[in-house]
Amino acid sequence: MRNLLVHYGTPLGAVTAADSVSFSLRAGERLGVVGESGSGKSTLALAILRMIKPPGRIDAGEVWLDGVNLLALSDEAMRQVRLARIALIPQGSMNSLNPVMRIKDQIADALRDHGLAPSRRQVEERVRELLESVGLRPEVADMFPHELSGGMKQRACIAIAISLRPRVIIADEPTSALDVVVQKQVMETLARVQKDLGASVILVGHDMGLMAQFVDRLGVMYAGRLIEVSPVRDIFTQPLHPYTEMLIASLPSLEQKGTFRGIPGLIPLLRDLPPGCAFHPRCPHAVDRCRAEEPRLREIRPAGWAACHLR
């Protein structure tokens, strides 16, 4: 992804939800994206699928997948890319399955609309296979969403997401609103199907613990900008950006019980960003240059990228 720029039109003027976001994703890699609410991480997920709804708009940028720029495709070609090449696993807290359709019909219509018109028996067969691969019983095919638990629903969503063997899976907080045990099961399911498919995963969320366990590399977003991308181990041991540093420091730890340190200040309003580095009002190390000039993301150490003047 190169220089993605997304705006939302509001009565108070255009809001930049994503600004010059660039990163690359290798085949089979697991990339995490973390950030506070409103930092643009969900916008990023939707932008890759080109599903930003008006008043939002992708103004610039390129999203390349296997030599094809997705942002240049026709609407119909983009529709065929969804699910077949890039699949979405929706937020766990959402009712992403149509309450009045059986699970198998919600898998079958995806197969049909992607030009696969197998016989009824083949569809049933494929549905059973998919459900089995996410650890669901075959009877689930004939059930309605309200008859399933939260974790089962989320697995059904994973079954749909992998039904066309996509190259990239975008998981947008797939385990929000699920309890820790179910969360673990869902993440294990996701990890297993990813390995089987050899697909890449972009995991969007704000659960640092989950990220630490699951992803290879981690990107940190702040105010619509990607401010750091590093291998996940490096981020936790030697964060490059002051924001990442404070984010890690704010995590509760077993060693220091009873102390909780937040990051002073609030995330800035996206329609009224401070000049220069968007983080400078909250940054303890800010210098004059931070207030005047916006830092670009650059490679500070091998595989470690950050947008900070001080590095």
Partner: protein, 334 residues
């Protein structure tokens, strides 16, 4: 499980009908009016002098109608009659029975209102769905303001305007009645054509007004449904726009509309009194209007009871069919 559910629903239906019948029996008696005496007095005053045998006549009529017996006996007799759909004779058009009068009027009303209700539901729901859909042609958006405006006009007023324009000024359509006076009712082509020509004006005024209501309701539901997570996920699944529109938006948005349709269909017997009266249409509304004007208690009772049964049947059918439309409503519990 389903037999259980059905039995419960039928039980509720019977209970409603019984309650309605009971109210129907006691309410007029609570009013303290004596229809026999009132009618006889009215006739006497028309005659210009007080008849000496009035009291005797009242007694005799009350004996004939069984009004001199204890209340509970009257009630039992009434319930037995009602369960056979027997509402006795009409007071105003004696010796015709209430049954025969209602039976004659029902096809007219059901024909006019049944067709217009289904028609306006179909057009309105379709329009409402398209109005809320981003994939619809832009010119459709222009339809909304006129629909709103029409919906705000009471249909009897619109009926009068249409009558003035189409029947009186342009003389395109017959102004009044269910068929040309003097025509012989029968299943001939001329008579059917005549009936259709007479029904266009009342039908048009109902459809024009009601369509806007259905469209508004559907549009509102569509807007809500389109914001649902499963529609977003359906798009992420790369489904065609038409699939999303039909199976994820319309399919879900139409559920409350169906409830409203069933209730509207149950209400058609009483729904268009004003339209029928204005156009002199020989339906249930018109006879109800005349029955009230002429204090025909038995006829009013018969019509009210029929309306209640119709509503009850509509609700019963809806209750039985709804779990098929929306699986979240189960047959298991009430």
């Amino acid at each position: 499980m389903r037999a259980d559910y059905l039995a419960r629903r039928v039980g509720v239906f019977v209970l409603i009908v019984w309650l309605a019948a009971t109210l129907n029996f006691f309410l007029p008696r609570l009013s303290g009016q004596d229809p026999v005496r009132a009618t006889l007095l009215q006739q006497a005053s028309l005659g210009g002098h007080v008849q000496t045998g009035l009291e005797a006549m009242v007694k005799e009529y009350e004996r004939r109608f069984g009004l001199d017996r204890p209340l509970w006996k009257q009630y039992v007799t009434y319930l037995r009659d009602v369960s056979r759909f027997d509402f006795n004779y009409s007071i105003s058009s004696y010796p015709r029975t209430v049954n025969s009068i209602i039976a004659e009027a029902i096809p007219w009303t059901v024909g006019l209102l049944g067709i217009t209700t289904v028609l306006s539901f179909t057009i309105g729901t379709l329009l409402g769905a398209l109005l809320a859909w981003p994939g619809a042609p832009r010119w459709m958006r222009l339809l909304m303001p006129p629909l709103w405006a029409l919906h705000a006009i009471p249909f009897f007023l619109l009926g009068l305007i249409l009558m003035y324009l189409l029947a009186f000024r342009m003389q395109l359509l017959p102004m009044f009645g269910g068929y040309t006076a003097g025509a012989f009712p029968g299943l001939t082509l001329t008579f059917v054509g005549d009936v259709i020509a007479h029904s266009i004006l009342p039908a048009l005024s109902i459809v024009l007004v009601a369509t806007g209501g259905w469209a508004l309701g559907m549009r509102g539901m569509m807007v809500t449904t389109q914001g649902e997570d499963y529609v977003t996920f359906a798009e992420a699944k790369g489904l065609r726009r038409l699939t999303i529109f039909l199976r994820y938006c319309v399919r879900n948005a139409i559920l409350p509309q169906t409830t409203a349709l069933a209730l509207a269909l149950g209400n058609i017997l009483s729904g268009a009194v004003l339209v029928e009266v204005i156009f002199g249409y020989p339906g249930v509304g018109t006879i109800l209007f005349h029955a009230i004007r002429e204090n025909d208690h038995f006829l009013i009772q018969g019509i009210v009871f029929t309306v209640i049964v119709a509503l009850g049947v509509a609700t019963l059918i809806l209750d039985v069919l709804y779990p098929l439309l929306d699986p979240r409503i189960s047959y298991r519990r009430t």
